[in-house]
């Protein structure tokens, strides 16, 4: 028998997960990053900070989110039980708020009066604008011009919340370009500005602290499944763009070898077409946005444009901890196509009366393949990371309707 690996040791002091992670940032930001590391290092084990965080999660976000056995879906798919971790029921409609609540507390502790964020689907932008409104902070959200167009509802929500939404027209006009622009803002305004990164990517300590704030998802899941079924899950499934909802679910179970882990990337029009957003499936390690991780880039190291029906997965990189879990063989990374995700969106809506985000639909599409393979008597937990209201007009357009 081989010795049990401890997957809870990462990252090292300089933010490395194996060869991945680290802190590849402009010199202007290094002081702010060091300061953030120091403050987070002190606060993460501070009972008062944790109590404040837990209080907000309970009374503002509405945690714990339910763990729901989808009986009709289980029956239809014919195999393992499908349990849904209902992050869509959080305030603002996705897991993103777990992280922005935590980072808003950090912003408060470092005394910044202005927060900035990047957003793809707009969920992180909305969650950032929400906490900024609650704390009376100025908020600027950078969003690729293409995403502004396809996520109009969330753009308007952010404006209602008092945030300024800046459309980014450089590069591919999507999430990666929004992140570039947020970094430029931060370099310029580092004295009074806190950057709320929305996923488990970016320079150290972001991948670690976002993971820590999201890992409540897995801790609740363990407790809830134990209470309802008296068992550990046999498999976990979550979609992976940057990977924050996925690591949030996975982290708690990394040291439980009986729990199989599946991260589902956006296969777009099919990985073989090149029109996708699946760096773990088809990319190689490189450096972008402050960390080393699997990327989609050409032979010259230029970052490639990505394609996914879901704006939140349309990103050429991925959080470094996922890259490490892939290298370690602890988690499996797979992909499903736009079409498969769309079918899963419709299926969950019709069978269970739950309309998932298109990002989340990728996880469901893979669970649909996995359930019959695993068979009756096994349990899959799917992270239902967000609700689909924001995507309704995208789906309507595919149905030939303009609403």
């Amino acid at each position: 028998m081989t010795e049990q690996r401890d997957y809870h040791q990462g990252p090292d002091l300089r933010g490395h997960f194996g060869i991945h992670g680290g802190r590849f940032a402009s010199e202007t930001l290094m002081n702010a990053l060091e300061e953030l590391s120091d403050i987070y290092g002190r606060l993460k084990d501070d009972p008062q900070f944790q109590a404040e965080f837990d209080h907000d999660l309970a009374h503002y976000v509405g945690r714990p989110s339910p763990l729901y056995l989808a009986e009709r879906l289980t029956e239809k798919w014919g195999g393992a039980e499908v349990w849904l971790k209902r992050e869509d029921l959080n305030h603002t409609g996705a897991h993103k708020i777990n992280n922005t609540i935590g980072q808003a507390l950090l912003a408060k502790h470092v005394g910044k009066r202005r927060v900035i964020a990047e957003t793809g689907a707009g969920q992180h932008g909305v969650a950032s604008a929400t906490v900024a409104a609650r704390l009376g902070l100025e908020c600027v959200v950078y969003m690729g011009a293409e995403d502004v167009e396809r996520q109009k509802l969330n753009v308007y929500r952010m404006k209602l919340l008092g945030a300024e939404v800046v459309p980014v027209t450089s590069g591919t006009r999507t999430l990666k370009d929004a992140m570039n622009e947020a970094m430029r803002d931060w370099v310029t305004n580092v004295d009074d500005t806190y950057y709320i990164i929305g996923t488990v990517a970016g320079p150290h300590p972001y991948p670690m602290l976002v993971r820590d704030f999201q890992s409540i998802i897995g801790r609740e899941t363990r407790r809830q499944l134990q209470a309802q079924a008296g068992a550990l899950p046999d498999a976990l499934v979550a979609c992976v763009g940057g990977g924050s909802n996925a690591i949030g679910l996975f982290y708690e179970f990394l040291n439980d070898p009986s729990v199989a882990i599946y991260g589902v990337e956006a296969g777009g029009l099919g990985v073989e077409t090149g029109q996708h957003a699946a760096p773990l499936t088809a990319g190689r390690p490189g450096i972008l946005h402050g960390n080393r991780t699997y990327l989609m880039a050409d032979d010259n190291g230029q970052i490639l444009g990505t394609h996914s029906v879901s704006a939140g997965l349309d990103y050429p990189g991925v959080g470094p901890e996922h890259s490490w879990l892939k290298d370690e063989g602890r988690a499996n990374y797979v992909s499903v196509t736009d079409d498969e995700a769309m079918a899963a969106f419709r299926e969950l809506t019709r069978i269970e009366g739950i309309m998932p985000a298109l990002e989340t639909a990728h996880a469901l599409a893979y669970a649909k393949k996995l359930a019959p393979q695993m068979g009756v008597g096994k349990r899959i937990v799917v992270n239902l990371s967000g609700r689909g209201d924001k995507d309704v007009h995208t789906v309507a357009r595919m149905d030939g309707m303009d609403i």
Partner: protein
């Protein structure tokens, strides 16, 4: 002593500040960049910083972003930039050339291939914007082994402690970024620059060059009084942007006109 170190030592002995223009390789095309490099030298450049196009230039403002985009339209990558420098070296074996860019093109090429190709092409120094000292040891070790210089950025937010650590990895010169912000931002506070340059003198004996926000001959002259080198980028690249569709000779003559103004201003300072 490397070509870069030698050049800067000679300037210091003569009591002159180095004039270091930056242009992006391949903006608007490779052949024009080659002409520009020779013209910059004729107009008084002591060292040339050559930008390596990257798709996601996080530390650059709109001027350099657009320059990268013009170069990327022709697919200009790190290999092309190295080939360009080799062509430059056929006629100029004296002017040091420093590559400036981002980490991923080097990661994708592989460090060993990059270092060997740089030596072969006649590169003198390397400045990677998103490679802080904490992450640099492998690459800087390989570069130093082949006598290539490593240039790092120091900024107004760099603490004295960090400055010492950065300077320990630096050779050739150190690049003081005069403002908090991206390239092309437009405030230059010479008194503030002077204060920081004096602070940095405590951390290093290397020449200190100053960049960001230097737009006119007067700016260049003022900075040359307080620093060992004057780096000018966006002001030149703006001229290229406005003339990008004109014949190459117009681009080169306009760019070299501004650079000679700067040289004259500095020499009179």
């Amino acid at each position: 002593m490397s070509r870069l170190q030698n050049t800067l030592a000679e300037l210091k002995a003569a009591g002159r500040a180095a004039l270091i223009p930056y242009i992006t390789a391949g903006d608007p095309d490779i052949d024009t960049t080659l002409d520009l490099m020779h013209e910059l030298v004729a107009a008084g450049a002591d060292v040339i910083e050559l930008g390596v196009p990257f798709s996601d230039p996080m530390a650059d403002g709109p001027t350099i972003q657009l320059a990268y985009e013009r170069a990327l339209k022709h697919g200009v990558g790190l290999r092309d930039v190295l080939a360009l420098v080799a062509r430059f070296r056929a006629r100029d074996n004296r002017t040091p050339v420093v590559l400036m860019g981002y980490m991923n093109p080097i990661e994708y090429m592989g460090y060993e291939t990059f270092v060997n190709a740089s030596v072969e092409a006649g590169i003198d120094g390397v400045l990677v914007v998103d490679l802080p000292p904490e992450e640099c040891e492998t690459l800087t070790g390989m570069l130093h082994e082949r006598e290539l210089d490593t240039i790092f950025l120091l900024t107004p937010t760099t603490s004295d402690e960090r400055a010492r650590a950065i300077c320990a990895h630096s050779s050739g010169y150190v690049y003081y970024v005069s403002i908090k912000g991206v390239t092309g931002a437009n405030t230059l506070d010479v008194d503030n620059v002077k204060h920081h340059v004096e602070r940095l003198r405590q951390a290093t004996e290397l020449p200190i060059a100053v960049g960001f926000g230097i737009k006119t001959a007067a700016d260049a002259a003022a900075v040359s009084r307080v620093a060992d080198g004057v780096i000018v980028g966006s002001a030149l690249v703006n001229i290229i942007a406005q003339a990008a569709d004109r014949p190459a000779v117009e681009i080169t003559s306009q760019v070299s006109a501004l650079l000679s103004d700067m040289r004259n201003g500095m020499d009179a300072a």
